[in-house]
Symmetry: C2
DNA sequence: TTGTATGCGTTATCAG
DNA sequence: CTGATAACGCATACAA
């Protein structure tokens, strides 16, 4: 490897000057700058990032923490790719790199490993759930002063940096849309309560029903676990009480699709015999039959904002107040929620 | 940050001894080892990974290169999550971390950036395509001695380390299956030729048709670009020559689903009026209606093997012969390819 | 505008 | 078995 020293010698300057050129520091004579650059390119010199990190005492890496996923099925391609792309874009704009950390099931407690080893300057944490262990771990992280930002998850009662989407409003829009399509008996298939989104969506659902002066009986409230299978199973329950249901709002696309599959087996076709709206606006929403109306979530922007915020906080060393960004969601209407679509 | 020095002082030994303890080097008296460990835990000492990298002159990072994805839609959740999980597992077993690099459209040439900056010791490259630029870039990488491994892509005529799946056999199985279901007029909807998989699948298709003594007219060969839309559009062409087609083998699930959607609009339902088999066995295959028969590809294992190989080569510094691992694929039969399924 | 000198936290080599 | 000590490649405060 060619080092700064060799460049300095070839250019006939000191090593410090070479550094200055490469870091754009201080005033300097254009000619010496040119000489250094010339020498560098001639030798094909590239600064050693590790050495830089070492000297600067910062890694230049943003950690991206992904949860353990039993069947890898929690995330859609959309979620995954979009958030990572958003983070990636921001990171590159700031000259950072992203270090990926896939948690193992028993590793909730080891959030701090990457920080301790100084491999990352800050972290974006994806897919966190509201469990006692995670609360504990995250609080520790914060106490230790490690900068991090949560994406798409809120911890009630704790003040973390978070970038979330307005799931309450999204759900409100969805239910509102169903009402406008003429449905009044609208069920809600929610997901696991350990995700704050679930509670948000419930709120949006209830508010929309309330605002429309509609009843929300206990029977209209179902719970799955965000898997297609749980949606499929919910179809059974819904079918048994089909007199009370005209439409369903599901907390994610996967469950919505499972639900449609289940009801189709009974003879009920979405968009004809009943209406469905999902959440996430994932790939699957476009691939399903009929195409699924859904709530679009700006994952790319969320990832980007999370990275921006957390790096800013690290760079400026500002121990800022926990910020709570919330990005807008948007209803995407497809055939699954239009009673006239298949006729 | 607490450093080795402080541990050494507290334990009453030299810094070198602390290092030996933490690296498990050389013989040493159990008592001093215990003293060091005690001091370390008391001070909550953790080695600085950056400093270690600097001193060892290796980063301890495996680079994972992802291609530029115009619409992020090239990869299914499956592909993405599975490969990354596989790499992640292997990497952790070897005490490495993974550095993610998202290429931008114009960055084909900058494959070497991460290596030059010494941020990674080796790379796994995903989603490469066979273009002149990429061939050029990869050859340069190899000439410069940077260890890397390609996943799911072969470059004919060039000897790179590659981990691939047996797409020829997978396709053979798929077409064979359709034949066994009684279909004889089997079309093939292929994807972009810049992915070696496409050529592999064509081979498998042709071989299966040939072995069965079936004709493969020009009309039976269609080409899309792996997008749902292109599959949807292919439906138009197929419909116009529906007399010549009873079944379709599509080079990925996305196109297969688009195809089913398109033909359904004409009144042809997969699994009833015609049969379809896709490729990748992605999430969408289970979510589609009817569920899509598909070729399962062991992405997890491919990622793991790629990481294992490339790290081994780096660690042992062995300039090994380019290896060409090929993992088996497997046909998964669902309703889309069974003529009796919907009756 | 540029050079000098010091330090960053390890690893690894060489004595003892 | 253990202790000195020289790298490692760069950033940066201080001088000039």
């Amino acid at each position: 490897m060619v080092t700064r020293k060799e460049v300095a010698e070839l250019a006939g300057v000191s090593e410090a000057t070479v550094s200055r050129v490469f870091n754009g520091l201080g005033p300097m004579k254009p000619t010496t700058k040119a000489r250094v650059l010339e020498a560098a390119s001639q030798l094909n010199y590239h600064p050693n990032a590790i050495a830089q990190s070492f000297a600067r005492r910062r890694s230049g890496n943003l950690g991206v923490v992904l949860p353990y996923m039993p069947k890898v099925h929690l995330f859609s391609a959309y979620y995954f790719a979009e958030i990572l792309s958003g983070i990636g874009e921001q990171v590159r704009e700031q000259g950072y790199d992203m270090l990926l950390s896939l948690l193992k099931p028993d590793e909730d407690l080891d959030y701090a490993r990457l920080y301790r080893s100084q491999k990352v300057d800050a972290c974006v944490i994806l897919g966190a759930r509201d469990t006692p262990q995670q609360r504990e771990s995250l609080q520790q992280l914060q106490e230790q002063g490690y900068p991090f930002c949560l994406v798409n998850q809120h911890f009630e009662g704790l003040a973390f940096h978070e970038v979330d989407a307005d799931h309450v409003d999204g759900s409100y829009q969805a239910v509102r849309h169903l009402q406008e399509e003429g449905y009044r008996k609208i069920a809600f298939l929610n997901g696991s309560p350990e995700y704050s989104n679930s509670e948000d969506r419930l709120q949006g659902y209830l508010r929309a029903m309330h605002d429309a002066g509609l009843q929300t009986s206990h029977e209209l409230l179902l719970e799955g676990n965000y898997s297609r299978k749980s949606g499929y199973e919910a179809a059974e329950r819904l079918w048994s009480q089909r007199e009370q249901v005209e439409a369903v709002f599901a907390a994610n696309d996967r469950m919505a699709i499972g639900l449609m599959q289940g009801l189709r087996e009974k003879g009920w076709v979405a968009g004809r015999d009943f209406a469905v709206v999902g959440c996430d606006d994932s790939d699957a929403a476009k691939l399903s039959d009929p195409p699924l109306s859904s709530i679009n979530v700006p994952f790319y922007e969320m990832g980007k904002e999370a990275a921006r915020g957390v790096l800013a906080r690290f760079t400026q060393g500002e121990r800022a107040e926990p910020s709570n960004v919330k990005l807008p969601t948007q209803l995407i209407i497809r055939q699954s929620s239009k009673s006239s679509s298949l006729t």
